[in-house]
C-alpha cells in the first residue's frame, strides 16, 4: 500500500471537492463537504481494499490521510 494510492482513493470519495485540494496532510474534517457519512465511507473502503477494520474512535482521532495511513500500517503489522 502506498500513501499516494490511499490519498487518491480517499479523494475520489469527495465528489464536490477538487482532487488537488486533498493531499496527504489535508485535515479531512475541515473540508466543507465532510460529513459523518464520509467517516463510514473511509472505514468501508479501507476494509474493502486493505482488509483492515478501523474503529469509530480511530476515525475520530485521525485527522489527515497520513494519520489514517499510519493506523493501517500499524494494524497490518499487528495482524
Amino acid at each position: 500500500m502506498q500513501l499516494t494510492e490511499l490519498v487518491q482513493k480517499i479523494a475520489e470519495e469527495f465528489e464536490d471537492t477538487p482532487k488537488e485540494q486533498i493531499t496527504a496532510i489535508t485535515k479531512l474534517k475541515d473540508l466543507e463537504e465532510w460529513s459523518s457519512m464520509h467517516a463510514l465511507i473511509i472505514i468501508a473502503l479501507i476494509d474493502n481494499h486493505y482488509d483492515i477494520i478501523l474503529t469509530g474512535e480511530e476515525m475520530i482521532d485521525a485527522q489527515t490521510p497520513t494519520d489514517i495511513y499510519n493506523i493501517i500500517l500499524q494494524k497490518q503489522a499487528n495482524k
Binding site: 460529513s35 459523518s36 463510514l40 473502503l45 476494509d47 474493502n48 469509530g56 474512535e57 475520530i60
Partner: protein, 250 residues
C-alpha cells in the same frame, strides 16, 4: 386493585437482557409480577440484570443467538411462555456501495435470522402458551431512513413484516405479535452512534425530539402494555415511540 397491565402469572423470555432496553424490560416486567427468563452472551452483565429483578423464580441462560446450536439450548432451557420480547440486536452503519456479504452477515444473523429461528423453535417445541404475546424491537430507521443504515434499517423492516405474518399465522390460538419502533433511546447503542457521528451531530439530532431522548423505561412501559391482557385486541401492529419526532416532520 384494578390493574389491567398486571403480568402476574405470566412467564416472559427477554433476549438482549444484558444491556439497555432489554435489561430495563426484564426488570420492569418483574415489577409487574411476571417471571422472566433472561438471555444474552455476556455473563457478567446478564447477572447484573438478574440481581435487579424483583421477586423470585427467574432464570438466566447464556446464549449467542447467532449460533443455531445455542438457540436450541436456550429453547430447551425455557419453560412454557406467555410472552417473548426480542431486544437483542446490533447496529453497524455501512455505506451501500461498499457492501459485501461479510459486512451484512453479522447484523443479519442477529437482527433477522436469530428472530426467525428462535420463534420457530419456540413454537415447534410447544413452548408458547395460548394467548401469548410476542414483542419485537424494530426502529424508526425501518420507515424513516438515514445514510449508512442500509443493513440495520432493512433488517428492522423485515422484522416488522415477519411480526405481522406471525400475528396472522397464530391468531387462532390468541397468540399476538407486535413491534415497538423506538427513536433514539439512551443506551449503549446510543453511545455507539454518538461515537460514529460525533457528539455535536448527535446533540443537534436529539434537539429535534420535542420530548427529548427516550429512556429504556419508556420502551419497557410500552412492552408491559403489549405483554399484558390490556392489549389483548392489539395484533400485528407497530407502535412508534419517538417523543413526537416524526409527528412534526413532513
Amino acid at each position: 386493585m384494578y390493574n389491567p397491565f398486571s403480568l402476574q402469572g405470566k412467564t416472559v423470555l427477554v433476549t438482549g437482557a444484558s444491556s439497555g432496553i432489554g435489561q430495563q424490560i426484564a426488570i420492569s416486567v418483574t415489577k409487574m409480577g411476571a417471571k422472566v427468563v433472561i438471555t444474552a452472551r455476556n455473563k457478567e452483565r446478564l447477572l447484573a440484570t438478574y440481581e435487579q429483578l424483583v421477586a423470585e423464580g427467574h432464570q438466566w441462560v447464556l446464549a449467542d443467538l447467532a449460533k443455531e446450536e445455542e438457540i436450541k439450548n436456550l429453547v430447551n432451557a425455557v419453560p412454557k411462555l406467555d410472552g417473548v420480547v426480542h431486544s437483542a440486536g446490533i447496529i453497524q452503519p455501512f455505506p451501500i456501495k461498499f457492501l459485501k456479504k461479510k459486512n451484512f452477515e453479522p447484523i443479519q444473523s442477529i437482527n433477522y435470522n436469530a428472530i426467525l429461528l428462535l420463534t420457530a423453535a419456540l413454537l415447534s417445541n410447544k413452548k408458547i402458551n395460548r394467548q401469548a404475546s410476542f414483542v419485537f424491537l424494530s426502529s424508526i430507521a425501518s420507515q424513516y431512513p438515514y445514510k449508512g443504515a442500509a443493513t440495520y434499517a432493512s433488517t428492522k423492516a423485515a422484522i416488522e413484516a415477519f411480526a405481522k405474518v406471525l400475528a396472522v399465522e397464530h391468531s387462532s390460538k390468541g397468540i399476538r405479535s407486535n413491534c415497538l419502533s423506538p427513536g433514539m433511546v439512551k443506551t449503549a447503542m446510543y453511545e455507539q452512534t454518538e461515537q460514529a457521528v460525533g457528539a455535536k451531530k448527535m446533540s443537534a439530532y436529539i434537539e429535534q425530539y420535542p420530548l427529548g431522548v427516550g429512556t429504556p423505561e419508556d420502551i419497557a412501559n410500552a412492552t408491559i402494555f403489549l405483554l399484558s391482557d390490556a392489549s389483548k385486541w392489539i395484533n400485528g401492529i407497530t407502535i412508534r415511540l419517538d417523543g413526537g419526532l416524526l409527528a412534526g416532520m413532513h
